[in-house]
């Protein structure tokens, strides 16, 4: 039988007390459990292993940069890491958010609980610069390996900071007429 998100949140609060802060999105009414990053692993492991909750499927991992959207529940933290969970056996869905501060953007990885976290966390790392401690593969996923910025951070401008010009560029050699010999272009 599927459980309603409110019921799941109540069970979490019963088990973990004030480590879980209930939240509800205005408009859509989506229920959110806000937790501190130290408690994220025990809480997610409980959600997965409890037979009544049985969240066996991690749908997505992403992050939100709250630089320009200060909400009281964020308590001054800049980043929120969002875990969207689904139970295929029980057919319910739930959202957990963990707060991460700007000066130390590190959070434990959950890739040993669900393998889908491997690439979800990798993309969050690529786009927001959050380190997932314990994920064996923290290379960049979409951006080039030597890219200096984190594009989805709110202080990163839409058109970039000129990284395109800073990359090593290939300039085609100028072919002088007649000789057929390639010469280097003047800088």
């Amino acid at each position: 039988m599927p459980l309603l998100p409110d019921e799941i949140l109540r069970r979490l609060s019963d088990r973990f007390g004030d480590k879980v802060r209930p939240g509800k999105s205005p408009g859509s009414g989506q229920v959110i459990a806000l937790v501190a990053r130290e408690h994220i692993r025990p809480i997610l492991a409980h959600l997965r292993d409890d037979p009544e909750l049985a969240f066996d499927f991690l749908v997505d991992v992403t992050a939100v940069d709250h630089l320009q959207l200060e909400l009281p529940e964020m308590e001054g933290h800049r980043f929120a890491v969002v875990y969207i969970l689904r139970s295929l056996r029980r057919n319910h869905i739930f959202e957990v958010k963990a707060r991460v501060p700007e000066d130390d953007p590190v959070i434990p990885s959950v890739q040993d609980l669900w393998k889908s976290a491997l690439w979800g966390e990798r993309e969050a790392h690529d786009m927001y610069g959050i380190e997932f401690e314990g994920n064996p593969d923290m290379r960049r996923l979409l951006m080039p390996e030597d890219y200096p910025g984190f594009p989805l951070r709110k202080d990163y401008p839409l058109r970039g900071r000129g990284e395109r010009d800073a990359f090593p560029q290939y300039r085609p050699p100028r072919i002088s007429a007649g000789s057929g010999e390639a010469k280097e272009t003047a800088p």
């Binding site: 205005p26 909400l71 889908s116 690439w119 979409l142 390996e145 290939y170």
Partner: protein, 441 residues
């Protein structure tokens, strides 16, 4: 004699050129290999040009078998794959960053470009997510039309995948047949949306316009003729010794792995897990239609091939039922702060003109509550397509995250091909149906 030609002479055209090709622009005369060492599979002593035990091979980014720009880096022992790694991001376009600078309506055009094989599914998924965020529901006629068009597009996507699977296995005629059928489907989509590929058909709160009057007839004719094509497809492939032998047993995924790695769609259902968003959390009135969720136990490429054929048959069932209960009425909600007013009204009526102006210039009524957020999922042809949207009360979204099915479906790929042959890698890759546009966004 310039220095550049000198170095070229030194290098010659020996296989050692391969070493330089990896380091950047080997054709550039001034090039000295100063480019930072690219991330590559295990290099070092083991990969010792062509004389050594193991050989490095790049499958892609430009390779016909990748159907897009994917790069698979293989390390081979003979023809066997000893280790594999993938690199993606060649089509990264920054859709999610663009979303933070466009109004809710403007971004619909970008959803077309994600899974360009089934653009309407993306349009519908995004529109439903924003509607959930606003707490509105579209009229019944729009819902039914969305269902019909989604299923038609799903068929187009599946048969293209089936045809390309045939092409990769050497059955080129299969691909041509599938393309010919897909053109017929695109004729319907063109009549409805005005475009064949980038449809942008949905609007927040409804649809771009109503369907033409002969649409039900077109869709019925299509539904009547299509099963014959499926029979032909099955006749060509099932029992075909070469085709079956190459697919059976390759890329086998266990149900536990499939759930843990986050696979969705036909790939998950071919592993024996009966999970479909249309059944688990119905949207757009899918609960009104009688259809099955086909499941196969094999979990290999052959299972995925048959799974897609079975799903096409279910889609035909849904289309037939949905055409039967297509109600009359408007296709947009009656809220001029969200939906553009009729053009005739804009010319005659000052209020409609103001609404039109405010919607186009300022985004106007589509301003979800500050701090509001939603995760909404729909079943795209490749699997669960999710949109996670956060609003700051402005006319542009604060954050849009797309949960593309291809991203999670592709993550497991290296695990599937290690220990297999190169030709198996091609078979497995095409059975996963990775669309690079939504993989990289």
């Amino acid at each position: 004699m310039s220095e550049a030609t000198g170095t070229k002479g030194e290098r010659g055209l020996s296989p050692i050129e391969f070493e330089d090709l990896r380091r950047g622009h080997a054709q550039d005369p001034s090039y000295r290999g100063e480019h930072p060492e690219p991330r590559f599979f295990v290099t070092d002593e083991e990969v010792d040009e062509f004389g050594g035990k193991r050989m490095a091979l790049n499958l892609g980014p430009q390779h016909p078998a990748t159907h897009g720009t994917l790069r698979v880096m293989l390390e081979l022992e003979g023809e066997k794959i000893a280790s594999a790694d993938t690199e993606i991001g060649y089509l990264h376009t920054g859709f999610e960053k663009s979303a933070e600078h466009m109004t809710y309506h403007q971004w619909i055009t970008l959803t077309d470009r994600m899974n360009y094989m089934s653009a309407i599914n993306n349009n519908v998924g995004y529109a439903i997510a924003v509607e959930e965020l606003l707490g509105i529901e579209v009229p019944r006629r729009a819902q039914v039309l969305r269902v019909i068009l989604c299923e038609i597009t799903r068929i187009a996507d599946h048969i293209l995948c089936l045809g390309l699977q045939g092409m990769d296995m050497g059955a080129f005629s299969l691909m041509l047949w599938a393309f010919e059928r897909r053109e017929r489907i695109y004729d319907i989509i063109e009549a409805v949306t005005g475009a064949r590929l980038t449809t942008s058909y949905t609007r927040i709160g409804g649809l771009f316009r109503d369907v033409p009057p002969d649409f039900p007839e077109m869709a019925r004719t299509f539904g009547r003729d299509f099963p014959r094509f499926l029979d032909e497809l099955e006749g060509m492939t099932i029992g075909n010794r070469i085709f079956e032998d190459r697919l059976r047993g390759t890329g086998r995924i266990s149900p536990e792995d499939a759930v843990s790695w986050g696979l969705t769609g036909p790939i998950l259902r071919a592993c024996g897990v009966a999970y479909d968003v249309r059944k688990a959390k119905p949207y757009s009135g899918y609960e009104r239609y009688d259809f099955d969720v086909p499941v196969r136990e094999e979990g290999d490429s052959w299972g995925r091939y048959l799974q897609r054929i079975a799903e096409v048959r279910q889609s035909l069932r849904i289309i037939e039922q949905a055409l039967g209960d297509l109600p009359d009425g408007p296709v947009n909600i009656d809220n001029k702060k969200i939906v553009l007013p009729e053009k005739g009204e804009v010319f005659d009526n000052i209020e409609s003109l103001i609404h039109h102006f405010k919607l186009i210039m300022f985004g106007h009524g589509i301003t979800p509550a500050r701090g509001g957020e939603v995760y909404s999922a729909t079943e795209a042809p490749n699997g669960e397509l999710g949109f996670y949207i956060v609003s700051d009360g402005d006319m542009v979204p604060y954050k849009v995250r797309v949960r593309p099915p291809s991203l999670y479906n592709y993550a497991i790929f290296p695990k599937l091909i290690i220990g297999a042959m190169i030709s198996d890698a091609v078979a497995v890759l095409s059975s996963l149906n990775i669309i690079a546009g939504e993989l990289d966004r």
